[in-house]
């Protein structure tokens, strides 16, 4: 009887160790993709957005990615931040969910955090942008600017 109890304990212990190893291993792998892959992902995004701007004869150009923790005037929403070439403005590349589909935007913010422009990226986003109600856009703009003010 006593032996059985010890054996049960050892099996449980092995299971707990295995489970912890699995969870730790998966989390470490995931975090390393996020941590080490962020730079490459931002570089490809910057290149794609600039090439889109070029195609659309837009004068704006993204310069370089901005680190997420360096956020003097930036909203705390998701998305990637970039500096804008030739100005002190900041570009936020993010998507807005409307009618069940996401619309990708380049959101140009002034150094004070005021929203200057929202440029839809790609043909899908351009079509969907025309269908977005103005009130919804105003709400999105308000949200970005409010969060910016709260962080100041």
């Amino acid at each position: 009887m006593k032996e059985k109890t010890i054996s049960d304990h050892s099996v449980k212990g092995r299971d707990v160790i295995l489970l912890s190893s699995w969870i730790l291993g998966i989390l470490l792998l995931g975090l390393s993709i996020v941590f080490f892959g962020e730079g490459t992902k931002n570089y490809f995004l910057l290149r794609a957005v600039n090439s889109y701007f070029e195609e659309k004869n837009e004068t704006l150009r993204l310069e370089k990615p901005l680190p997420k923790n360096d956020s003097t005037h930036r909203p705390s929403i998701s998305g990637d931040f970039f500096s804008v070439g030739g100005s002190k403005d900041i570009a936020l590349i993010d998507s807005l969910m409307v009618e069940g589909t996401s619309i990708a935007y380049a959101i140009i913010l002034s150094p004070q955090g005021t929203l200057r422009r929202m440029i839809p990226l790609g043909s899908h986003s351009v079509v969907m942008d025309e269908r977005v109600a103005l009130q919804l856009k105003a709400l999105f703009q308000q949200r970005i600017e409010t969060e910016t003010l709260e962080r100041k």
């Binding site: 969870i23 995931g30 992902k41 794609a48 009618e99 589909t101 996401s102 990708a104 790609g122 899908h124």
Partner: protein, 213 residues
């Protein structure tokens, strides 16, 4: 106990809420053909890799918390696919991020990994890929209807985002916006489910007749 549970109209296998597994993915992933193609890739990737990993490392799986491991593993592979896709088409990755995030949820809700215990690696892989393919093809079939009628175009994934390879201004002008919205997707899905039930009924009768002969 299990039979009683499965037959229950509320908690059973065919209850309205159980049957809703995957609806969100079907609705959101079929608004554009390019989205459906991307989601099909993700389904094959997540279903295939998760099942292979769980089968190969079967001896290292604990007897407790297997669901948790499957959830984490499928989410990891799903993020890996999203990451690779964002290198291929960064702008489109932003647009399709939400349907892609639903892939591991669909995988877990289906509970496929729990039925793989008695199968060999190749059998398990074949079954999971077949199931992913069926769901992906269903998405593509819906998208082939929704996108041309809702947007007046047909798109495929490209490094510049969604690439329109078929369509015209006239078709776009006369497109029915409701079809590509979530509400329109649900309406179409309702009709599709009704058609599916009729066909399923016919198929059932055909099988019964064949057995009698």
């Amino acid at each position: 106990m299990n039979d009683r549970l499965h037959a229950d109209p509320l908690w059973g296998k065919y209850s309205p809420l159980t049957a809703l597994t995957g609806v969100a993915l079907i609705i959101l992933g079929s608004s554009r053909f390019s989205f459906a193609v991307t989601v099909l890739g993700s389904l094959m990737w997540v279903y295939g890799l998760t099942i292979v990993t769980l089968k190969v490392l079967e001896n290292l799986l604990p007897r407790i918390g297997r669901n948790g491991i499957a959830i984490l593993l499928s989410s990891l592979y799903s993020y890996g696919y999203y990451y690779l896709f964002s290198l291929f088409s960064p702008i489109m990755a932003l647009e399709v991020a939400f349907p892609l995030a639903l892939v591991p949820i669909t995988f877990i809700a289906r509970g496929l990994y729990r039925q793989m215990d008695n199968l060999s690696l190749s059998q398990a892989l074949g079954t999971s890929l077949y199931e992913a393919l069926i769901l992906g093809l269903l998405l593509m079939a819906l998208a082939l209807f929704r996108e041309p009628f809702g947007f007046g175009v047909l798109t495929i994934p490209s490094p510049q985002g969604t690439f329109e390879f078929f369509g015209s201004d006239l078709a776009s002008h006369f497109s029915i916006r409701l079809i590509v919205s979530t509400a329109g997707g649900l309406l179409i899905l309702g009709y599709l489910v009704a058609l599916f039930r009729v066909l399923r009924n016919f198929y059932g009768k055909y099988l019964a007749q064949r057995e009698n002969k």
